[in-house]
């Protein structure tokens, strides 16, 4: 059996047009095509033969002597089949060269991607969040609060009396969650506007703006219950872990897709993270409505404060703007682009859930 190609001797880029021939007993001869002189005489088992990838040239190389390059892939495969069956018919090449396996892979990758985003990542993130030591969570929360204070917050301008009044109103609900170490604080929100935040260690921050926006302390209680819901379900830690898993997995799978493609890949990752965030909001809302029912507070308080928030300008920052005046179609699309569900959806879910009690 013969192959034609190029011979490159060890040590330089010198190229000779050459013929490679191998006999049935495995003796190999490489000869110069022009002069007919023998370049290499060896046995087949001494050669390292590169795997087949698409139709790229194959290299048959002999340690310290040189390498023979040929485009005759089928010829190389035929020789391998006869003299080195173990390396012939490489499984990888068979899988890579048939459309049926490619299409199967497309289906498999899409199905896996869907499962991984919807079930896999949240489940694993949940395990990790449960396994994280408490002191890590609390020091992480402290540092984050420090950072928020530095970047956005100012000291609260609410009077001492107002703060005491609200804390007193919250006391019962907090006492019901004594295991969580819930601590409510007030800050001036500035750019963050009317908002409330829960840190994983149980610190819950109300901005002055949301306190001023509320029409009754029960509305604030509904918000508190929502934020406690985030703490109970460990949403903060879970969303961080989910984000990391998702980015790392995408990078590993599509890592060498090229610069332009890579920047496009961040879009689905971001959309998925938004979807996780919206799920968490619904979960926290559900928790809030349960707590309101347990404590015999009218669930309409939550509805009221949601309405006020969506009328308030700060809703733009918190993605809680209502769809009162806007075209419904637009909002459907925008839903996918926000971390919080549309307020009307939240109110509807909330009311449905409250009626179930």
């Amino acid at each position: 059996m013969t192959l034609s190609g190029f011979w490159y001797g060890e040590g330089s880029s010198n190229r000779l047009a050459a013929e490679f021939s191998v006999s049935a007993d495995g003796s190999v001869n490489v000869v110069d095509s022009q002069t007919g002189a023998t370049i290499l005489a060896t046995t087949f088992d001494q050669l390292i033969i590169s795997d087949r990838i698409g139709n790229t040239p194959r290299f048959l190389s002999k340690q310290d002597q040189g390498r023979f390059e040929t485009s005759d892939n089928d010829g190389v495969d035929a020789i391998l089949l006869q003299l080195r069956p173990a390396q012939s018919g490489s499984v990888a090449h068979i899988l890579e060269s048939r459309w049926r396996y490619a299409l199967l892979s497309v289906v498999g990758v899409i199905a896996f991607g869907w499962w991984f985003a919807v079930h896999g990542t949240p489940t694993v993130a949940n395990w990790i969040s449960l396994a994280l030591p408490k002191h890590i969570i609390s020091s992480a929360s402290e540092e984050n609060l420090l950072l928020l204070d530095e970047l956005y917050f100012d000291e609260s301008e609410l009077s001492h009396d107002v703060q005491i009044r609200i804390q007193t109103h919250f006391a019962d609900l907090i006492a019901q969650h004594s295991a969580l170490d819930i601590r409510v604080m007030f800050r001036k929100g500035n750019a963050l506007g009317a908002n409330a935040f829960a840190l994983p260690d149980g610190s819950i921050i109300f901005t002055d703006e949301i306190v001023n926006l509320s029409e009754s302390d029960d509305e604030l209680l509904a918000i508190l219950a929502h934020e406690i819901g985030h703490v109970v379900e460990r949403h903060g830690v879970r969303s961080v872990v989910q984000g990391s898993i998702l980015s790392l997995a995408t990078l590993l799978m599509f890592g060498d897709a090229g610069a332009a493609a890579e920047s496009l890949l961040t879009i689905p990752v971001l959309l998925t993270q938004f979807a996780y965030s919206r799920d968490f909001e619904f979960e926290a809302d559900r928790y809030s409505s349960e707590q309101m029912a347990i404590n015999n507070v009218d669930p309409n308080h939550f509805v009221n404060i949601m309405r006020s928030l969506s009328r308030d300008g700060s809703c733009i920052k918190t993605n809680t703007c209502g769809d009162n005046n806007d075209d419904d179609q637009d909002n459907r699309l925008l839903d996918y682009l926000s971390t919080h569900p549309a307020p009307e959806d939240r109110i509807r879910h909330y009311q449905e859930h409250s009626q179930a009690f």
Partner: protein, 434 residues
């Protein structure tokens, strides 16, 4: 012999079949210099294109100008024992060879221009790509190291120059080890960053100091496992050089609000390309800082003008901001890719061999837009086709003027390299390369 210096002199001779306008256009594209200025020079009967060129470099200038249709002489200027000689016999005369006074061993008789070629095919690569992703998933990521090698080998093997293909020689096991280290480092860095943002910022500083080391390792690994005609590439950059080029100068550029960005970019190109070797032959970049500034300013201003036009058009239909932003993004990407690639390749040499960069604005813009739209519309399934199209474009628009015999590159002595740097770099998504 070594201290002989030459001027590259033009005596009003244009090659047959070329016009002054054509030559000026070609030269301005190659050098990113002003076409008007070059045309003026070419209309003179006597013009010195370059003063004080070392003997080893004269051929390169003569060949490059010859390729653009301009005939020049290398004229000896330095005082030496021999009287100044007019080397016009060695200059291009439109029909014969240009370096026939040299001894036979080094330069070849006639420089030969060729192009890189890419033989891959989108459909073929699609199968390889998707099957490898699927196998990586099934094996919980372990196969991803094999997948990486196979993907890389597909692109190397399908790229040829002068009929010989490139080889990627890294072993998947080495890459797997590097990948495991990288994931541990990346994972703990991400965790610290999320949970301890303040400690994280200190770590970020540590990473900034570590990064140049990772880059040097990464370049060295990649070069060592890349070969052509059985000869490996090498990378000899130092940590200090990388620190200056990839941390020092970018910081300087940031402090000057980006004004010095072209300088930083130049330093990076010089560091990356200038420290590469093919066997024992060095790559060398020789483009002036001025050229980099011109390319950046041209790219930026052209994009700004395009965005302004888009804004005016968009204002009529009521989508001004969006249209202007998209145009600006697209134009900067295309202009910078085309201008800078051409600038670097047109000034890149390997011994007496000259590269040429021949990207064109229009065709590159078409490629970029269609690839981007393709990837978006197919939710990523077009990625393998886009990669093949990009590789084909890159190969076919990169020329190589062989000034030496292609058979005479000598391999360097063997040394090994580690995968760790390379894989760290990959996980952190640093994408370099020209």
């Amino acid at each position: 012999m070594t201290d002989l210096r030459y001027d590259i002199v033009f005596n009003g001779q244009i090659r047959e079949g070329f016009s002054v306008d054509e030559a000026a256009r070609a030269l301005s594209k190659r050098t990113a210099g002003s076409e008007e200025r070059i045309r003026k020079a070419l209309t003179k009967q006597h013009h010195v294109f370059k003063h004080d060129v070392a003997e080893g470099d004269t051929d390169r200038y003569v060949q490059q100008l010859f390729a653009a249709g301009v005939i020049v002489d290398a004229v000896l200027v330095t005082e030496s024992t021999t009287s100044p000689t007019d080397l016009s016999s060695s200059s291009a005369d439109g029909s014969g060879g240009i370096s026939d006074t040299k001894d036979d061993s080094g330069p070849r008789d006639q420089p030969q221009k060729m192009y890189f070629q890419f033989h891959g095919n989108g459909a073929e690569y699609f199968k390889i790509w998707i099957v490898n992703i699927c196998l990586s998933i099934v094996t919980l990521g372990i196969y991803s190291a094999w997948a990486k090698v196979r993907n890389k080998r597909y692109f190397y093997g399908n790229t040829t120059l002068d009929g010989s293909s490139f080889e990627y020689l890294a072993s998947p096991i080495t890459i797997l080890k590097g990948r495991i280290v990288a994931i541990i480092v990346f994972g703990s860095y991400a965790a610290v960053n999320h949970f301890y943002p303040i400690v994280g910022s200190v770590l970020a500083l540590a990473f900034m100091i570590l990064m140049p080391w990772v880059m040097v390792r990464s370049f060295a690994f990649n070069a060592f496992y890349s070969a052509y005609r059985g000869v490996r590439f090498r990378f000899n950059g130092t940590y200090g050089g990388a620190l200056a080029a990839f941390v020092g100068y970018p910081i300087l550029a940031a402090f000057t609000l980006g004004l010095l960005a072209p300088l930083a970019y130049k330093k990076q190109v010089y560091f990356f390309a200038g420290n590469h070797e093919f066997g024992q032959s060095r790559f060398e970049v020789d483009a002036s800082t001025r050229d980099f500034f011109i390319a950046f300013i041209t790219g930026f201003c052209a994009s700004l003008v395009a965005a302004l036009v888009a804004w005016i058009i968009g204002w009529v239909i009521g989508v001004a901001g969006l249209l202007a932003a998209l145009t600006f993004y697209l134009c900067t990407f295309v202009f910078f890719a085309v201008l800078l690639t051409n600038l670097v390749f047109n000034n890149l040499t390997l011994a007496l061999n000259q590269f040429t960069g021949e990207y064109e604005l229009k065709s590159y813009a078409v490629l970029f837009i269609t690839n981007t739209l393709g990837v978006i519309c197919t939710l990523g399934l077009f990625i393998p086709f886009a990669k093949v199209r990009a590789a084909k474009y890159k190969a076919e628009h990169t020329g190589f003027i062989a000034g030496t015999n292609m058979d005479e590159f000598i391999a360097a002595r063997q040394e090994s390299s580690r995968a760790m740097g390379e894989e760290l770099a990959e996980v952190f998504d640093w994408d370099f390369g020209i």
